[in-house]
Structures are given as structure tokens and as C-alpha cells.
């Protein structure tokens, strides 16, 4: 009897909930402007952040997305990291059809729970939960609600209502609650006006909201996301992580927090202390000592990343690195600092946002924007920067990974923002000389000598030091845009100590069958053999975001091709000389007897250029593309 009764209740509730599920989010309700260029439409979003105290933040993310076609599937799932300090308390999800009828609900058993140890780490404690309805009848709508509890305030979620191309937003709201008297700071981008503020039970609630944001189209050479769409960053003043408390209201105070984490972790074991003394005994200058100790560190350690709990912020101590011979960027930089200190040289542990071309940084808003540590050794004349995770970097050279950007020095007085060095165009060279000979069948034999400097040698430094000879050959094969070839020689000579930036010399010998095409009495030959501009640009719509070029450089080529006697030029392309705000280009070909000489020089500048100048950039790059592919036509004189 009881059983039947329970069954009855179950049936009632089941049918009740079915009835309750009236259609929601029908596709027909989407404003037409939001469908343009969109693969998916965000119907609703709520990002709710409630700071209870510095070790308790309740974060709720509710999102409703209509997926319009297959390309929108990537916006359909749920995928979130968690760890000891970021718990996922609850996940719910519902799937609706185009009319808004509820089709299915997320079952807890369908949520996948996987390790999230990244490729570059040996160990981390982060895991990931993910779910997908894998629906294929388009359009359809998914709604997810995820509740988190953060047990720290070092990072507070940011609000990025759009954040992707082909994704429009009907509505999104950020709601942040913080106790009255708590200095919660924020910085908004591409947002008109101020947040609405109200007081509620002793707390201040601020809300931001956007509506009807059309989809963005992908554009080349864009800057950071905050340059293109609305974002709000949140930052704490007083904050906590694990058992540590800190203050992020200024760079100075944030630096003091880092200094506290590092305190007392720089004690070297006795044997290393005596090694330092021995190594530096005969060194005359600080510069020499820095080099000796840096090279010692490079030879005796390697990069191993282990990020567990507070270990994501706090370095393993110097003794750990000394005995195990490894560490991550924090541990190795801290170790190097200890080595220098033992030799009487002062240095600063330095926080940086690393990444090629990731130089944009909010200097006037103190929030942790960092993902890497380097070391700064101030000198009387010049400052030396050390990348401690590389076993091969020349002393004092940072390269494209950390150059030209604001970084936070941890000094005795707290944090201090300074900039890492920028490498100007004339230090980032690719200077190439080719001497080639074409035979009567069109086969070309050539010797190519190239000197790469500064940022242009970074890639070659990497492959020379970390890749096998076979891999180097394989990479060369992939780089060569030639129909068919045999590589006779590939040789690299590194000049790591070259000043002001390191250099790499490359020598290649190639045999290229069919390089010149020979048809009857004519020979067609492309004098730009190895340095052709990458691609054509084409655009239909008006450029909407500013154009960014990060690293300036110069490519200079000179090519000498000898062809068999008897050929005379029939068609040659004219000299090309372009001068624009983005850079300059020059190319010229001359024929003298049976010798073709080609010279080319490209200089690309760095900077931010207004979106309206895009057609000029397009014209510039397309002219280069064309010029780089212009052939010389030779004709054999009748005997």
C-alpha cells in the first residue's frame, strides 16, 4: 500500500513538473539583428559574485544559450575547473528545443569529472567537470546554472558577456555584492555609464548589464579582447589565499604580499654556498658573477612544474631546488636570487604576464594579471633580466616571451611596476643571402645563408637547443614552400653572446628540381626563392577594431641566380617601393648577362593603428604578396 502511495506521489510530481515546464526561450523571440553572423545567441546570463568574507565568495553563473547551427556547438557545453580553493557546489542544466519545450535535464551521473593537469605540468590539483547534451536538431537552447564557492579572494571572476566571435548577446548581467566598507575595486571596458548601486542588508550590490550586442566577426591583427568587447574586471583590496592575507589596493601592497610568501625561502645549503664562493672567486665584475651563476643554474636545474594548493603562488625553497635540481618559474627564480644574494648581488623576484605578443597590461588597475616569474638584477649602468626556466637563454636576454611589457618587481619596499626591454626593428633581423644556379632543365642549386637576430632568432634558438637534427630538418621541410627539394646541408651556428641581442646563423644547401619552369625556349623563374610574404588579405565588411602589430622587424634579402648562357630577359617586373605607416617594402630585380640579381627589404613597424586604416594595410600586404610572386621570364635567343 505504502509503495503504491509513493508511486502516486511520484507520478503527481512528475506530471506536475511537466506541466510547469511551459515553453521558454523560443528561438522566434530572438531579435533579428542578433542572428546576423551568429552561430549562437546568449539569451540570458547572470554572473553573481557575493563576497561574504575574504575566504568565502559565493559565485553563481547562470547562462542560457541558443545554438543556431553546428558551429555553435562549442558554446553548448559546460566545462569548469575546480580545486581545493574553488569548489563546484552544484550544477544543473536543461535542454530546450527551438520552440522552447523542455527536452531533457542534466543528470548528475552524466557530468564528467576528469583530471585537469595541464600538458606543461608534472602535477596540479585542478580537476574539471564537464557536460554536454550533444543535441543535433538545430536550433536548440541549453541553460546551465553552476554554483561555486571560492575559499580565497586572490582572483575574483571577471565579466565577459561576449568574448567570442559569431556569438551575440541578448542579455547579460553582472551582480556583485560586497560588505559595506569593503573596498571592492573594478575596471570596466567598452561599457557606457556606471554600475547601478544599492545597499542591501549591510552590503553594497553593484550591477552591470548589457543587452542586444550583435555578433563580432573575426578580424586579423586584433588587440586584447577588452579592446573589442565589454569586460569588467573585479579586484579585491584585502584578500586571502590559503592561510595568507594580503592587500591588493596598490602595486606596492600586492608586492608586499608576494614578499611575505617568499620570506625565508632563500636559504641555500652549505655545499651550494661554497660552490658560489668557488665559482665567483676570480670574477672581477658583478656582470661576470651574474653570468657565471646564471650559467651554473642553467646547467644544474631544469623546469618541472608542480602546482599544488598554495604552491601555485609560493615557490619551493632554494634548498629544494638545490637538492632536486628542478623547479618551476617561481622556484628557479627564487633559487637564482639566492645564488646572487650569496655572491653579494641584489636582485628582484619579478611577476610578469608572459606570452608572445601578450604585452597589454592594465597598469592603473592593481589586479593579478601575471602567469610567470623572471628575475631582475639592477645594475649601476644597466639592468640584467634573467629568464630562469631556460637552460639555454643567453644571460640577460628575455626574448619575445616577456619583452616590452610592464612587470612587477618585488622590492624591499613592496611592489614596483617597471618595463622590460623592447627590441627595436633593427635588432630583429633576418638577413638572407642566396647564391643559386639554375640549369637548362630548371633545376636550381642554391646556398642560402641567413642571419637571424633578436626576436627573429627566438624560434631558431629553440629548435637548435631542443630539437634533434631530424626534427630540425623536418621543420625546415615544412617551412620551405617549394615544389620538391633535397636538402644537402643544414647548419646552425649560434652566437648567444652577441650584443645587443643574440644571433643565429643558418646555412642551407638545396637542390630544387623544376624550380624554374622551362617551356620550349622560355624559362620562368621566381627570384624571391625563400622569403615570400604570407598571405593576401580580403575583407567584405568594414573593419571594426583597431589593428595591432607587436614586434617590429626587418627582413633583408639578396639573391643571385645564374642561368645558362643564351637567355635574355623577356619580361621583368618593375621596381616596387612602398612606404606606409605599417612599414616599408622595397624589391628590385636586375638581369646582367646570365645573372639575375634580386634585392628585397621589408620593415614592419609595431603599434596600434586605427581601424579605419585597414584598407591601407590590405593594399600594402597585397602588393607585397603580388610582388613577392612576380616571375622573371627569360627567352633563349635563336642560335
Amino acid at each position: 500500500m505504502i509503495r503504491n502511495y509513493l508511486l502516486l506521489i511520484f507520478l503527481l510530481t512528475a506530471s506536475g513538473s511537466l506541466r510547469a515546464a511551459d515553453p521558454r526561450y523560443p528561438v522566434s523571440a530572438i531579435p533579428p539583428a542578433l542572428l546576423k553572423n551568429a552561430y549562437a545567441v546568449q539569451r540570458e546570463e547572470l554572473v553573481s559574485v557575493k563576497i561574504v568574507d575574504t575566504r568565502d565568495v559565493r559565485y553563481v553563473h547562470r547562462i542560457v544559450v541558443t545554438v543556431l547551427n553546428e558551429n555553435g556547438d562549442r558554446f553548448a557545453g559546460f566545462n569548469e575547473d575546480y580545486d581545493k580553493y574553488r569548489e563546484i557546489k552544484d550544477v544543473s542544466g536543461v535542454l530546450y528545443d527551438a520552440q522552447g519545450n523542455q527536452l531533457r535535464k542534466l543528470k548528475q551521473g552524466d557530468v564528467r569529472d576528469l583530471s585537469a593537469v595541464s600538458e606543461m605540468s608534472l602535477m596540479e590539483d585542478s580537476r574539471v567537470k564537464s557536460h554536454n547534451f550533444y543535441h543535433k536538431a538545430y536550433p536548440y537552447t541549453v541553460a546551465y546554472e553552476v554554483e561555486f564557492r571560492h575559499r580565497h579572494t586572490a582572483f575574483i571572476p571577471r565579466w565577459v558577456p561576449q568574448g567570442a566571435n559569431h556569438y551575440s548577446v541578448e542579455q547579460s548581467r553582472l551582480e556583485v555584492t560586497a560588505p559595506e566598507g569593503y573596498d571592492l575595486r573594478y575596471r570596466q571596458f567598452r561599457y557606457e555609464g556606471k554600475p547601478a548601486e544599492r545597499t542591501e542588508k549591510g552590503a553594497i550590490v553593484r550591477t552591470w548589464e548589457v543587452r542586444n550586442v550583435p555578433a563580432m566577426q573575426p578580424e586579423p591583427f586584433t588587440g586584447p579582447l577588452r579592446d573589442r568587447c565589454t569586460m569588467v574586471y573585479l579586484a579585491p583590496s584585502k584578500f586571502s589565499f590559503a592561510e595568507y592575507d594580503g592587500d591588493m589596493s596598490s602595486w606596492e601592497n600586492f608586492g608586499k604580499f608576494i614578499a611575505t610568501l617568499n620570506q625565508g625561502r632563500d636559504v641555500l645549503p652549505a655545499n651550494i654556498k661554497s660552490t658560489v664562493a668557488t665559482l665567483t672567486a676570480n670574477a672581477k665584475t658583478d656582470r661576470e658573477k651574474i653570468r657565471l651563476l646564471y650559467e651554473y643554474m642553467q646547467q644544474n636545474t631544469r623546469y618541472i612544474s608542480i602546482q599544488l594548493g598554495i604552491g601555485g603562488w609560493q615557490p619551493f625553497d632554494a634548498n629544494y631546488v638545490a637538492t632536486k635540481g628542478y623547479g618551476d618559474c617561481k622556484a628557479l627564480s627564487n633559487y637564482m636570487k639566492a645564488l646572487l644574494s650569496e655572491a653579494g648581488i641584489r636582485s628582484h623576484y619579478t611577476l610578469v604576464h608572459a606570452g608572445r605578443e601578450e604585452t597589454d597590461f592594465m597598469e592603473d588597475f592593481t589586479v593579478s594579471q601575471f602567469n610567470h616569474i623572471i628575475l631582475c638584477v639592477p645594475g649601476q649602468q644597466d639592468t640584467t633580466w634573467l629568464e630562469c626556466t631556460s637552460q639555454t637563454a643567453p644571460t640577460g636576454y628575455l626574448g619575445g616571451f616577456t619583452n616590452n611589457r610592464p612587470v612587477l618587481l618585488i622590492t624591499e619596499q613592496g611592489g614596483k611596476l617597471v618595463r622590460t626591454p623592447a627590441y627595436p626593428a633593427e635588432q630583429n633581423l633576418q638577413v638572407r643571402n642566396i647564391i643559386a644556379e639554375a640549369d637548362g632543365t630548371g633545376t636550381l642549386k642554391l646556398k642560402c645563408e641567413t642571419r637571424y637576430t633578436g626576436l627573429q632568432q627566438d624560434y631558431y634558438h629553440q629548435i637548435v637547443n631542443y630539437d634533434s637534427k631530424e626534427k630540425q630538418l623536418e621543420q625546415l621541410k615544412n617551412r620551405l614552400k617549394l615544389p620538391s627539394f633535397d636538402i644537402g646541408q643544414l647548419k646552425y651556428t649560434e652566437h648567444a653572446d652577441a650584443r645587443p641581442v643574440p644571433e643565429m646563423e643558418e646555412t642551407i644547401e638545396l637542390k630544387v628540381p623544376n624550380y624554374a619552369s622551362v617551356t620550349g625556349k622560355r624559362m620562368f623563374i621566381l627570384p624571391n626563392i625563400l622569403t615570400r610574404g604570407a598571405s593576401k588579405l580580403s575583407s567584405d565588411s568594414t573593419r571594426s577594431s583597431d589593428i595591432y602589430f607587436y614586434d617590429p622587424y626587418v627582413d633583408a634579402d639578396s639573391v643571385l641566380i645564374t642561368v645558362p648562357e643564351g637567355y635574355t630577359p623577356e619580361a621583368m617586373f618593375p621596381e616596387v617601393k612602398l612606404s606606409t605607416a605599417f612599414g616599408n617594402y622595397y624589391a628590385r630585380v636586375t638581369v646582367n648577362g646570365n645573372r639575375i640579381t634580386y634585392v628585397r627589404r621589408v620593415e614592419m613597424k609595431s603599434g596600434r593603428f586605427p581601424a579605419r586604416d585597414y584598407p591601407k594595410l590590405e593594399e600594402f600586404l597585397n602588393q607585397i604578396y603580388k610582388s613577392d610572386r612576380s616571375k622573371v621570364v627569360l627567352v633563349k635567343k635563336e642560335a
Partner: protein, 672 residues
């Protein structure tokens, strides 16, 4: 001598006892002397690291209530360059399922550095070993060796006790990056268990031996029921210990056109074939294909659910087959429904991951889940449908003769309609009815039915034919304009459809215009058969060529976008076969008419080149009639697979094609 073919040696053909006393394992854990720190190894002078020894063994041991499997490994690596530092990061995977699990024990690891002529040891601390729970079934033990520099020798050894008693771990004698100086595997088998040994590769054994002995096992076997007590059992079977050693094995590196290196690396694996306990009848584990398929047909984790009525499918089947008369149409509707509504989350799975009903409702599953669902729906409609088991190209070859479960990883479906058999795969979004994906063309396959019908999907039987026609003539203003039409091959059609869906038709045509070689203005782009996945895609467009320049000369490559611009065979030599995905046949024709005021100054010459006595043919035919030029290019092969010895001629053949395709036509304006 090279071992080319797979050697299958059933255990019952045991070799006579002939244990050689020489050739002992050359390394012992912890014994490293200064002489071991060589600075170069002749086998590969450029190696970044060398495996000095890799020694493993598998043997049966007494577990609590049954046999367990004990696997031991000891590996020693000499790290010579920084680029090999990652070889000091070790990850050991342990598997668990239900109550059975694998556990790691006796793990030790040590680094050796030569300092001032002395060997300095740095041991791994036990707390530096991490445990990563990857998912429900896999745990990873991870550690890195301390004190690793250029020149460090590292070694580690461990034991895995496995509660999967009859699963013998396979052994790779060869590495894909490092040379291996000594690789040794020893397997001890009690007479109760018979295994097939499957070995492959191009390196011969330095030692291959076996010896007999006896060993006593004892365990407390569980009682028949919960109430009955467990009983102590002790047995002393005969044991045969097999030992295989390879010496100085060079690494096998990946190159283009290979199904998978798994097919070529020197490797041995084991398949349990029968169990013979004393006084019980012999139990054949691996019998014949029909018996294997009978079991798969009944297995709840494979096709078992197909034997029952699956009424929950009937509404959909009725809807999909309403008003349809022929079996083929019924099958096509059902196939389209599954393909267009279900998502495949794993393209390599022999077992279903969930019940048929769950797959039906959740709308996703692995390849076997989805194609078993397709079979169920087809049967619900009264059609004669069966699952077909195969191995995809990247999973490696299967042995036509032996039904080995681990060799199979993919299910497709056979269905008969009006007496004709069709093979279906509903897991790929753009596959048409009766078509299989390129990855399925990997040789033998078997149907899951009583007779386990043998099937074959050979790349050699799969023709990939494309046909392109280009017509160019002057427009009213005397400017050369043309029409381009191309029928894509099946695989090309598949790729083009997915590109079109991803990027849209506009971008697709724009990319075509960019790839045309000559600068053109494109218009009237049309796609035929875009939605009809069973047919080849047909692409059409009009174009205008650029104006003539001042010089009065025009040059262009008559193959335009269809020229083969680079030789696919970039390496100078090859050590293993070339395995192309299909037999290709590319056809191109051009009809070019010039305006009255122009003439041909130069045209390419006709050529016919044959590869290997006609197994490959390249025709390049040009014919001029006054102001009109007809040109044809055909590149055709009769085979998809080639031996390593055929690499050079094949590469040279392609060189000719590339050269001919790059030749130009020269057009000259007549003087007024």
C-alpha cells in the same frame, strides 16, 4: 635478416629446452660505473637520449583467492641532451574496473651523475611520487627524476600486481625517438593457460629461448555460496618461461602515408587462446571467428540487446518508414535519422558504453553505441541488418585468421535491401548511405552473425576519382573568361562539405579563388549534391582572367588550381611501406580558345610516364588547332600500398608530375 611478416606461434608448439647460458641481462639495478657514461653511441651519434636497457617480465603469482599477474620493469636511460630532459618525467598508468585493480609496488628510481670521475647517486624520494586520478578507470603514478643534467643516467624499476589474471602486458622492443641498446621481455606461463604470441617488426631477435620448471601456487578460493567457507587450494603446474631479447634497435620515425607506426614497430603481444585445468575439459578462449561472433552477438556490452524486442524504438521507426515502400528507402531514412541526430564522442571503442536505451535517449555515445542503435532500428523496421566489426587504420591491422578482441575497435552496419548489401556508418556527419569513412579501409573485417562472414575493406579497392573541366574563351571584349567545373572524389567531397559547413559557402569559394594560382575574378559559384552525401560534390564557377599587360604577352599554368605543386614524398628514403588511403585517379581537361588577335607562342609538350610497368600512369596530352588548345592530364594509380623498395621510383614519378604541372603556356598578342 628482416622479419617482414607477422609470426604466429601457438604455445603448444613449445621449443625444446635450450637455454643458452650466455647473453645475460647486461644491467643490474644500482650498478652504474664511470665507464657507463659514454659520450657517443655509434647506433645514433645524434641521439638526445639512449635507452641502455629495458627489461621486463610477466609472471603468474598467487593472489588472495586466485592467480594474479605480476609485471616488473626496469629501465635505464642515458640522457645526453637537454632536449631529452622530458624522458626523466615518468608516468605509469594503472587500470581498475569493478573490484579488480592494478597496484604499483617496489617503485625505485635513481639518477647517476659523473662528478670528478666518481658516480654520484641521487635517489627519488617516495613523497615525490604523485597520484593523478584521470577518470573512473585510470590512475596515473607520476614522478620525475632528481638531479638530471646533460650526461645523467637515470633508471627506475617497479612492479605492478594485477588482478586481471590472464591479461599479459605487451612489450615494445623499439622506441619512436630513442635507440634501444638492449630490450628484453620474459614471460612465465603455467601449463593451464595457452597463449598466442603475436610479434611484428623489422628487427630480428638476438635471443629467443624458453625453459621449463615448476612452481607452487596457493590461495584461498571463495566458496560456492556466501555460506560455504573458502577453501585452501595449492597447485604445482609446469611453467614455461619464454625470453625475447633485441639488441641495438634504432628508433622508428613517423613519415607521411603510414596507417600507424603500431603496424611497424618491433613489438610482441599475447592473446589467451585456451584454458586447460587438470581434470576439466579444455576451454577454448579464442576459438574460431564464428564462435567469437556468437559470443559478441550475445554479449550485453556488444550486441546482446539486439536479441530482444526494443519496443521503445517502434514509434520512431514507424514515423521514419511511413509511406515508404522499398527496403532501401526505409534503411536510408533510418540511417539519416541516426546520423543527423546522434553525436559520436569516441571513434575507437569495441564495447558499448551504455545501454541501447540510454544511447537512444541521450543522443550520444561511442561508435559502437551508435551503430548498434542503428542496427536495432533497422531490425525494428524488419530489415536484415548486422553489426560488422573492424579495426580502423590508426588502430592497426587485424589478423584475418585470429579473432582477437583487442585488435578490433570499430563497429559499422551491414544491411540488405532488395538483395543488395550496403555498409553504413551513422557516426560521421557527412557520410552518405552506403559509404564508409577513409579510416575504415584497413583490410579484413567480420560480420557479427552465425557464420561470421569475412569481409574486406581494402584501400586498394577504393577508387578516389576526381574530374575537372575548364573552358576558357574570349568574352565580347576580347578578355579571356572561363568556366570551371570539378567533381570532387568521395573523400574530397567529405572534407569540402565539412569545410563549407564550418566556414560557409562564401569563404569556401573565396578560398578556391585564392588557390587558383592566376589572379581571377570569380562569379556564379554553384554547388551541386551538397546535401546528398552519397554522391560526389560538384563545384562550378565562372571566372575572368587578368588583362594582358603592356608587353603583349600572357603566361599561365594551364593546370591552374589543379596542379600538384609539391612532391608528397619529402624524405629521401623510407624504411617501411607506403600506405596511401585509396587508389587515386585525377582527371583534368582544358579547352582554351584565344581571341583572334592572339596566338600561342609556346605550349607544353605531351608526355606519358608510367610507374612500375603501368601500375601508375601520368598522361599529359596537348593538342593545338590554330587558336584552340585541348589539354588533358590524368594521374592514376592501380594500388594504394607500396613496399619500402618502391619508394624511390614513386618519389621520382611524382617529381615528373610536379615538373610537368608547373609548365606554362605563353600567349602573344599579334602585332596590329
Amino acid at each position: 635478416m628482416q622479419l617482414k611478416t607477422v609470426v604466429l606461434t601457438p604455445l603448444f608448439l613449445v621449443w625444446a629446452m635450450m637455454l643458452a647460458a650466455q647473453d645475460k641481462t647486461p644491467v643490474k639495478y644500482g650498478k652504474v660505473s664511470p665507464e657507463d657514461f659514454k659520450t657517443r653511441y655509434d647506433i645514433d651519434t645524434g641521439a638526445a637520449a639512449v635507452v641502455l636497457a629495458d627489461v621486463g617480465s610477466s609472471e603468474f603469482e598467487s593472489g588472495r583467492d586466485w592467480f594474479i599477474q605480476m609485471y616488473k620493469q626496469h629501465r635505464r636511460i642515458h640522457i645526453l641532451r637537454k632536449s631529452a630532459y622530458e624522458k626523466a618525467n615518468i608516468s605509469i598508468e594503472l587500470y581498475m574496473q569493478g573490484a579488480a585493480e592494478e597496484s604499483l609496488s617496489n617503485l625505485k628510481a635513481c639518477s647517476y651523475n659523473l662528478e670528478n670521475g666518481k658516480v654520484v647517486e641521487t635517489k627519488l624520494e617516495s613523497k615525490a611520487v604523485f597520484t593523478e586520478k584521470v577518470d573512473r578507470n585510470i590512475v596515473r603514478k607520476k614522478f620525475t627524476l632528481p638531479a638530471v643534467k646533460e650526461g645523467t643516467i637515470i633508471e627506475y624499476s617497479f612492479t605492478i600486481n594485477s588482478e586481471f589474471p590472464t591479461y599479459l602486458r605487451p612489450w615494445a622492443f623499439q622506441d619512436i625517438e630513442m635507440p634501444v641498446l638492449w630490450s628484453e621481455y620474459e614471460v612465465s606461463l603455467p601449463e593451464y593457460y595457452e597463449y598466442l604470441f603475436l610479434s611484428q617488426g623489422y628487427n630480428g631477435y638476438h635471443i629467443k629461448s624458453s625453459k621449463d620448471s615448476r612452481k607452487t601456487f596457493s590461495f584461498n578460493m571463495k566458496g560456492e555460496s556466501l555460506a560455504s567457507p573458502s577453501r585452501h587450494v595449492s597447485v604445482t603446474p609446469g611453467i614455461t618461461t619464454h625470453r625475447w631479447v633485441m639488441k641495438d634497435v634504432p628508433p622508428l620515425k613517423e613519415e607521411s602515408f603510414v596507417t600507424t607506426l603500431k603496424n611497424h614497430i618491433s613489438y610482441i603481444e599475447f592473446q589467451l587462446s585456451s584454458i586447460r585445468f587438470p581434470e576439466t575439459p579444455v576451454r577454448n578462449i579464442m576459438g574460431t571467428w564464428p564462435r567469437f561472433m556468437e559470443e559478441m552477438g550475445k554479449d550485453e556490452d556488444y550486441a546482446g540487446e539486439l536479441m530482444r524486442a526494443n519496443n521503445f524504438l517502434s514509434d520512431d521507426v514507424k514515423r521514419l518508414t511511413a509511406g515508404v515502400s522499398t527496403a532501401k528507402e526505409k534503411a536510408a531514412n533510418i540511417f539519416g535519422f541516426v546520423r543527423d541526430n546522434y553525436t559520436c564522442t569516441d571513434y575507437s571503442a569495441i564495447w558499448k558504453s551504455q545501454s541501447l536505451k540510454t544511447t537512444f535517449n541521450k543522443k550520444n555515445g561511442n561508435v559502437t553505441d551508435i551503430n548498434i542503435l542503428l542496427t536495432a532500428l533497422l531490425r525494428e523496421a524488419g530489415l536484415d541488418a548486422s553489426p560488422v566489426l573492424l579495426s580502423t587504420r590508426s588502430h592497426g591491422k587485424i589478423y584475418a585468421m585470429y579473432p582477437i578482441r583487442s585488435k578490433l575497435n570499430y563497429t559499422v552496419v551491414s544491411v540488405y535491401a532488395e538483395g543488395e548489401e550496403f555498409f553504413l556508418d551513422a557516426t560521421r556527419p557527412f557520410l552518405g548511405f552506403g559509404k564508409l569513412h577513409a579510416s575504415c579501409y584497413n583490410g579484413p573485417a567480420r560480420k557479427v552473425n552465425a557464420s561470421a562472414d569475412p569481409l574486406s575493406f581494402e584501400a586498394d579497392s577504393l577508387s578516389e576519382r576526381s574530374v575537372t573541366g575548364v573552358f576558357i574563351s574570349p568574352d565580347d571584349n576580347g578578355r579571356l573568361s572561363g568556366h570551371f567545373q570539378r567533381q570532387y572524389s568521395f573523400f574530397e567531397s567529405y572534407d569540402a562539405r565539412s569545410r563549407i559547413r564550418e566556414k560557409g559557402q562564401d569563404v569556401f569559394f573565396k578560398d578556391l579563388a585564392k588557390g587558383f594560382v592566376a589572379d581571377i575574378e570569380m562569379s556564379n559559384g554553384k554547388l551541386q549534391e551538397l546535401e546528398n552525401y552519397s554522391n560526389q560534390l560538384l563545384v562550378d564557377y565562372d571566372f575572368k582572367l587578368g588583362e594582358m599587360d603592356e608587353s603583349g604577352m600572357v603566361y599561365f599554368q594551364p593546370m591552374f588550381s589543379e596542379s600538384i605543386r609539391s612532391n608528397p614524398f619529402k624524405s629521401e628514403n623510407r624504411k617501411y611501406p607506403i600506405e596511401m588511403p585509396a587508389v587515386t585517379d585525377y582527371n583534368y581537361s582544358l579547352t582554351l580558345t584565344l581571341p583572334e588577335n592572339c596566338s600561342f607562342e609556346e605550349i607544353p609538350k605531351s608526355t606519358i610516364v608510367k610507374f612500375n610497368d603501368g601500375e601508375g600512369i601520368f598522361q599529359y596530352l596537348v593538342q593545338q588547332n590554330g587558336n584552340q588548345l585541348l589539354m588533358r592530364s590524368r594521374l592514376k594509380f592501380n594500388r594504394a600500398s607500396y613496399e619500402a623498395e618502391e619508394y624511390q621510383p614513386l618519389r621520382e614519378f611524382f617529381d615528373v608530375v610536379v615538373k610537368k604541372h608547373a609548365e606554362q603556356i605563353v600567349i602573344k598578342k599579334k602585332k596590329a
